[in-house]
């Protein structure tokens, strides 16, 4: 699952997970951290989900909130990591 993932498929999977995580369906560009919907445990679950579902390793240098704060930004991050 490391190459050629369609962006729509990644976005759909992330949207589904984030919706269950924050118990609300966010707009793909909505900052769920800004809204206070993600606590430490939820952040851990989000990163763990991304690692397991897409077979990537989130390293210390990847832990920039800009990579994770919206579904669209997270989709871009996953596509870059899986293309590498």
């Amino acid at each position: 699952m490391r190459n050629g993932l369609p962006a729509d498929e990644v976005r759909g999977q992330l949207l589904e997970f984030v919706t269950s995580l924050v118990d609300a369906e966010p707009d793909p560009d909505e900052d769920y951290f800004e809204r206070g919907l993600v606590n430490s445990l939820a952040a851990l679950e989000l990163v763990t989900f991304v690692e397991h579902r897409f077979g990537i390793t989130v390293r210390a240098e990847d832990l920039d909130l800009d990579n994770f704060r919206t579904v669209n930004r997270l989709t871009g991050f996953v596509l870059v990591k899986t293309a590498g």
Binding site: L41, A43, E45, A60, R69
Partner: protein
């Protein structure tokens, strides 16, 4: 080889008066989402007794320990409180006077919030290694929140309590190894602005909740994983060799975070002590360890790993071994 350090006794002191979480005065001033977060921490009640300040809580625990063990420690290490009652004066020498430890080498350690137990243990180990004439070191701390508001959003609720720890080179609970790491970039993530403010207006404020909930949390995951691996590797162990894991008491969510980040199960005593006492700063981890020993979670000859973390930011792990016997004496 690491110099020898062992815990001979731990005594906790609880003031009589307690407050149910639902009766915390600050709940009335919180927004609904913050109120729900507070009520969902996994804390039922905390000890909250205005008759005791932090030094008096520490002195009460230490007085009990000294009476029950007959110890005459040659050194007194005081983990300083988060908000001393007075500036300029010395909590450490006040405790020396209260305890009558006239000849004890006395000073304060700390600066790492809940992790401040670790520098106290490291200092005790160094003193015992450096001075063959020193037999016992007493470490004490009084947990008292720094503001009238006990809730630190979205982390925990702090309770009152005192703890005294008697250390020596030998004893029933051996401290086999200690690892500690800090990241100074988070030094002011949580602060209490107090200058030009009346004490009733003091509160623990997070400068950036997103930074707390994301960057610090996930750096904590990475740090704790690396430190856990390092601790086990350098002691020739695997996770299967650890009989019991305990952590500090912040919230039920924090327990799950630690368990998921490290793939371990924490002793159930952690959740029970959290529910009964809330967060007690540096006193949490040895309260949990000794409760676990008393309840049979760490049989004689087995080892435990103790996790501690603070938003300042600091992380610490201890590897301890229960030798049996006296360790079951936990003076409450």
């Amino acid at each position: 080889m690491t110099a020898a350090l062992a815990v001979r006794a731990v005594t906790d002191f609880w003031p009589d008066r307690a407050t149910a979480l639902a009766d915390l005065p600050e709940l009335a001033e919180l927004s609904e989402d913050r109120r729900q977060t507070c009520l969902g921490l996994g804390i039922d009640r905390v000890r909250a007794d205005p008759r005791y300040d932090a030094v008096e809580l520490a002195a009460s625990a230490a007085g009990k320990l000294l009476a029950e063990t007959g110890a005459t420690p040659g050194a007194l290490l005081v983990i300083g409180s988060r908000a001393p009652e007075r500036l300029m004066s010395s909590e450490a020498t006040r405790l020396q006077a209260l305890l009558g430890l006239t000849d004890a080498l006395t000073f304060s350690v700390g600066g790492l919030g809940c992790v401040s137990l670790t520098p106290a243990l490291l200092t005790a180990r160094g003193l015992l290694a450096a001075d063959p004439g020193l037999e016992q070191v007493l470490v004490v701390h009084g947990s008292k929140p720094p503001t009238p508001r006990r809730y630190r959003h979205p982390v925990t609720v702090s309770g009152d309590g005192g703890q005294a720890v008697l250390l020596s080179r030998t004893g029933p609970v051996r401290v086999l190894d200690v690892v500690q790491a800090t990241n100074g970039h988070y030094w002011d993530l949580y602060t209490v602005d107090f200058r030009d403010r009346a004490p009733e207006d003091w509160s623990e404020e997070c400068a950036d909740l997103r930074r707390y909930s994301f960057q610090l949390a996930l750096e904590g995951r990475t740090r704790l994983r690396e430190m856990y691996r390092e601790l086990l590797d350098r002691n020739g162990m695997t996770a299967a060799d650890v009989t019991c894991h305990v952590s500090q008491n912040l919230s039920a969510g924090a327990f799950r975070f630690t368990e998921e980040a490290l793939g371990v199960r924490l002793s159930p005593v952690c959740a029970r002590n959290l529910a009964s006492y809330g967060h007690l700063g540096p006193n949490d981890v040895l309260l949990n360890l000794y409760t676990a020993i008393a309840e049979g979670d760490l049989p004689a000859g087995s080892r435990a790993v103790v996790f501690n973390a603070s938003p300042v930011a600091a992380w610490s792990l201890l590897l301890v071994e229960h030798g049996g016997g006296e360790a079951e004496t936990h003076y409450l």
